[in-house]
Symmetry: C2
Subunit: 235 residues, 2 copies
């Protein structure tokens, strides 16, 4: 899914898709904003056909919706939905942890992760948005190590949809610190084959992050909406 048609030069549809997705994630398109296929086409220098393809894809992923013959709309953030996505994510990752502990030998990946998330080496740590990406890949690697590709696929889809709020997690410095410790503890439990312990730590880790995100999200949206209004006035 990450690869456009077999590494062929990215299609227009792919480019438009990525651009729109980023616009949405960076709040350049505020939830609730309406726009037309033509607008997007002229702005991104593409015809309506690839634009439509990109939009339908974003629709299936839950980011936009189409109003019959009256334009597209960025789907408002549904907090209940975010909570439900977190629940689903926890369910999947817990299952992954149990699967991993049922394996005959520890996957190579986990040893690599253990080096990366070593809490005794605070020197080589990433910061800011880099941590967000690393955290994502940590959880993604866990799923991959469990060996069920369909679970990986669904988990990735969830990750995509949660990213819009999840990046806010690491705007608080203590969360970076905590993330390193929590990841290390989870990996240690996995290494010792303590499935239940690992699952519980993982659950707490995700719920903590979820709580932090919940607290930050609301104000950010308000800020963005205000900035957006000023833009409209000055324009």
């Amino acid at each position: 899914m990450a690869t456009p048609n077999q590494r062929r030069k990215a299609s227009v549809a792919e480019r438009v898709y990525e651009a729109l997705k980023e616009d949405i994630f960076e709040f350049r398109l505020i939830p609730g904003d309406k726009f037309s296929e033509g607008d997007v086409g002229t702005r991104l220098n593409a015809s309506r056909t690839p634009v439509r393809e990109a939009l339908y894809r974003l629709q299936r992923e839950g980011h936009v919706e189409v109003l019959f013959r009256s334009g597209w709309k960025v789907k408002p953030l549904d907090f209940q939905q975010m909570e439900e996505l977190y629940e689903l994510r926890i369910t999947l990752e817990r299952e992954a942890v149990h699967k991993i502990c049922g394996l005959t030998e520890e996957p190579e990946t986990l040893r690599a992760l253990a080096l990366l998330w070593n809490p005794d080496q605070p020197s080589g740590r990433a910061s800011g948005s880099a941590v967000r990406a690393l955290d994502e890949s940590f959880h993604c690697e866990l799923m991959i190590a469990a060996g069920n590709r369909e679970m990986v696929r669904v988990h990735r889809e969830i990750t995509d949809r949660l990213r819009i709020v999840r990046r806010l997690d690491f705007t608080r410095d203590n969360r970076v610190e905590a993330t390193y410790e929590e990841h290390a503890a989870i990996l240690e439990a996995l290494h010792q084959g303590l499935a239940h312990d690992a699952a519980e730590r993982l659950t707490r880790h995700i719920r903590t992050s979820q709580k932090a995100v919940r607290e930050i999200t609301m104000e950010r949206i308000k800020e963005a909406a205000q900035a957006h209004r000023s833009d409209s006035q000055s324009a």
Copy 2:
């Protein structure tokens, strides 16, 4: 997802999508078959645009794949993938069972299900393909009762993709009988709030069905492929 644009008269794209999906599920399009957008368009009396929309949707659902500028192909049945989908389905439904037992009161839906799946009334039983649909809705209702819409959504997607093999389950008469008993037992455990018991019964129920399906699928595909070859010769 089941509703085309708000019950507006079904679009051409929707019609093509349903037709193609049925063709695939009914093995009128054999896994591995290649075809072009133009073919489908003339056969179903539609232009390429809605055909493409339908195909991209089927692609995202994993039923077909596109070969760059050289046609579309019905994705070969991937048995490993089916196993993984079953695993994912079990994970979701087990979680649902635990959620249901955590509710303060038994959902109305479950009482309705208990009436439907009463094993003491073998008279009013459905048979054949009707049981397949009822079985599907049983598991779907369980997910809905648990209250997480995202889990319901993913579960429905999995159900769609497993349907192609799952309908084979009820071609054996004893499976119909067993399904009634197993469903009743699960509902009884849920009624008594025995989460662990219900989860275990549910898991066994699904695995039994999975095993039956696994046994039947291979031969059926061979049959269909043979019938297909005869068609080609006579044509």
